[in-house]
């Protein structure tokens, strides 16, 4: 049976709340409203307003509250609705959650999970469409994950909750309506990248909302005789260098797809690591497909033009083959 990404997130939250009484879910409209993306529908009824807690629009405050609660025996899942609003809470995430263990000399770990939606594609314009997860991936002291599949949407949350340190989960808005057959939902690791498609000619590295686009591009490239290996980063911090480098050593070519802007992006980091770790295996320059360096515009055709698309990935991959 098909399960949607949205349902997988929902079931993961429900099972987390069922399995561990210390788990609480808090955030804007997670309760009565059922979650902005309907991921927590029905949870208020099952677990009550103590454990499924609607917060005021006070992002800095309630993320900080989550940190305090995590320090003191709870296992909070804080939902910040979207990455754009998370900027209001950035101080608590960066200056407190990420730094606390280190600056306390290892005394205080923060077992906190922060979830948020990210990404563009729904014509929400320049204040609701950005992909700022590379900023989070810059910060030591947190783990950053980006489930791109239904199985990961379910399985990464539970694992994140079992971590002793803060984990930030990015769910791309365009993924909620995707669905897939999964057998029994199961915990998924949050330390490795995954090979989503095996191939020999070029490694296409993507994560989150770009993974389906990378897969589409790979299918199209296969018709042109280019056999793509698709790597899903899954974990944006710490990066799984081994999987990335092993794939590039095999294919000798890499295209990195990242919905964030190219300058200072995760794509830049991955690219640098490939050059550091597999330079002598490269048979072509590294190519990147990222968003145009512009705040995401409202008009649909402009928004689509600003974002990575399968045809751009195809073109980038083909450019690595010269005139063969």
């Amino acid at each position: 049976m098909k399960t949607s990404y949205r349902t997988a997130v929902h079931d993961a939250l429900r099972d987390a709340l069922r399995n561990d009484p210390r788990v609480v879910l808090m955030g804007e409209d997670v309760g009565r409203y059922g979650g902005t993306y309907a991921a927590s529908k029905g949870l208020l009824e099952e677990f009550g307003p103590e454990r499924v807690r609607d917060t005021p629009l006070s992002e800095l405050g309630f993320v900080g509250v989550g940190i305090g609660a995590a320090l003191n025996g709870l296992r909070p899942i804080v939902e910040v609705m979207t990455v754009n609003f998370s900027l209001l809470a950035l101080d608590q995430i960066v200056n407190t959650a990420a730094a606390l263990r280190h600056m306390s000399g290892g005394q205080f770990s923060v077992p906190l999970v922060v979830r948020m939606a990210t990404g563009a594609g729904r014509q929400l314009a320049a204040q609701h469409s950005h992909s700022l997860e590379p900023w989070y991936a810059h910060i030591p002291g947190i783990k950053v994950v980006a489930p791109a599949t239904v199985a990961d949407a379910y399985g990464m949350l539970g694992t994140a909750l079992s971590e002793p340190d803060p984990v930030v989960i990015f769910e791309h808005v365009q993924l909620y309506n995707t669905s897939a057959d999964i057998d029994a939902p199961a915990p998924m690791d949050i330390s490795h990248a995954a090979i989503r498609r095996s191939g020999s000619d070029v490694t296409v590295i993507a994560y989150g909302g770009c993974l389906p686009k990378a897969r589409d591009a790979a299918n199209e490239l296969s018709l042109a005789g280019i056999d793509c290996e698709v790597v899903d980063l899954r974990v944006l911090r710490p990066l799984d260098d081994d999987t990335i480098l092993e794939s590039v050593r095999k294919t000798h070519r890499a295209v990195i797809v990242d919905e964030a802007w190219r300058s200072g992006s995760l794509a830049a980091e991955v690219s640098a690591r490939i050059v550091e770790g597999a330079f002598f295996d490269l048979d072509a320059p590294i190519a990147r497909v990222c968003s145009a360096e512009v705040p995401i515009p409202y008009a649909k055709h402009l928004e689509q033009a600003a974002l990575p698309q399968p045809d751009k990935i195809v073109a980038a991959a083909q450019s690595l083959f010269g005139d063969r």
Binding site: H252, F279, F280, L282, D283, A284, L320, D323
Partner: protein, 391 residues
């Protein structure tokens, strides 16, 4: 045993392809004899041998592209006896790895001093297969050599070679020029000087001289310029020679490279030898011959490899002043602009005379502006005395 090696026919040449052997084992070779034709990015060049002897063994088969310095043939010095019978056809590269370095059909020789674009993985593979990447043509992004190019090269090592097409040559030449000029601008701290030269004396003298002659014996003003530069370069040795390693090596003779633009684009600057010692008529005939052969892509190795200083004359095209880019490893380039009537103050009076701008682009590592100014002044001075140039 004398080793005859692939000569470096210019700063931008890394390798050459053997087009033709003009000798065979057992032939006697005299000093300066043309013994082979080598295809470079710029031209098919006749290569002279500067040793006297008897050809013992030809080591590089036709069509093979080899690096500069590779032994092409061995010669027995006069009186020398062979110690063992010659092998049939051995492959001689410096590295001499077990599998012979392969070459590829339709390969134009490697471009230039700009490092070729070879993917890191292709470079490593080539090393392990013993393939000379410099001889592999690239089909990857931006023409880079890729793994598959190296594999093809290794697989088709035995296939015969075909000559580069004109389009290949143009592309290769562009790359050569790009490489040499980039290297120049990257490495050479140029300084530039200019001086106005009154050409009245020289041109009047030349017109009179030409009036007495048939058109076939006529001499162009460019020849006076070449001679003046050569004579001045003899006196100012720091502009005549090469910067190699970290030091200037003065040249004994003055071989003036003449910048010759090719129809359809491209440029070569082959040398006229011993310019300072030649009379004007001889220089004129050398120049005519050189231009014709340059445009026919038929130059000799020594012409390509040993200019000690270069002269460029863009005055013909109508520009007033040319500031050149030095051709490494040379250290100076003299430019001449268009002769035109200009108002000058001469001996306290105002006169309309024909003048041109002479310029010097020089390597500041080898010389300084003060000496450069004196050098340029000497050229100017010589151009005022055409009869001195005649000698």
């Amino acid at each position: 045993m004398i080793e005859f090696k692939m000569p470096a026919l210019g700063a931008d040449m890394d390798a050459g392809t053997l087009d033709e052997w003009l000798v065979k084992p057992g032939d006697k070779v005299t000093r300066g004899q043309v013994v082979a034709v080598v295809e470079t990015t710029k031209a098919a060049v006749e290569v002279e041998c500067w040793h006297e002897g008897t050809v013992y063994e030809l080591l590089v088969p036709l069509g093979e592209t080899v690096e500069v310095g590779t032994v092409l043939a061995t010669l027995l010095a006069p009186g020398e006896k062979a110690k063992k019978p010659p092998k049939v056809s051995v492959k001689p590269t410096a590295a001499a790895a077990a599998p012979p370095p392969a070459t590829v059909p339709t390969v134009a020789p490697a471009a230039a001093h700009r490092r070729r674009w070879v993917s890191p993985a292709a470079r490593r593979l080539a090393a392990s297969l013993g393939v000379d990447v410099e001889a592999v043509s690239g089909t990857g992004p931006q023409g880079a050599v890729t793994i598959s190019d190296v594999e093809h090269a290794a697989a088709s090592a035995e296939k015969p070679k075909t000559k580069p097409t004109a389009a290949d040559r143009a592309t290769q030449m562009r790359r050569s020029i790009a490489a040499a000029m980039s290297r120049s601008k990257r490495e050479i701290p140029h300084y530039y000087l200019a001086d106005e030269v009154v050409m009245e004396n020289a041109l009047t003298w030349l017109t009179t001289r030409n009036a007495e002659r048939s058109i076939t014996e006529r001499v162009l003003p460019a020849v006076l310029q070449l001679k003046a530069v050569a004579l001045a370069a003899q006196r100012f040795g720091e502009f005549n020679g090469f910067w190699r390693g970290d030091a200037f090596e003065p040249a004994a003779a003055v071989h003036v490279g003449v910048a010759i633009s090719l129809r359809g684009g491209g440029l070569v600057a082959p040398a006229i030898h011993d310019v300072a010692d030649k009379k004007l008529d001889e220089l004129m005939s050398d120049l005519t011959d050189l231009v014709a052969r340059a445009r026919a892509f038929s130059l000799r190795s020594s012409e390509m490899s040993d200019p000690t200083i270069t002269v460029t004359n863009l005055g013909d095209i109508g520009v007033d002043t040319v500031f050149g880019v030095i051709y490494p490893p040379q250290v100076a380039l003299v430019g001449f602009g268009k002769p035109a009537q200009r108002v000058c103050v001469i001996d306290g009076g105002i006169r309309v005379v024909t003048t041109l701008q002479a310029t010097l682009a020089a390597d500041h590592r080898a010389s300084d502006g003060h000496r450069g100014a004196l050098f340029l002044a000497a050229i100017n001075e010589l151009l005022q005395q055409p009869d001195v140039l005649e000698k």
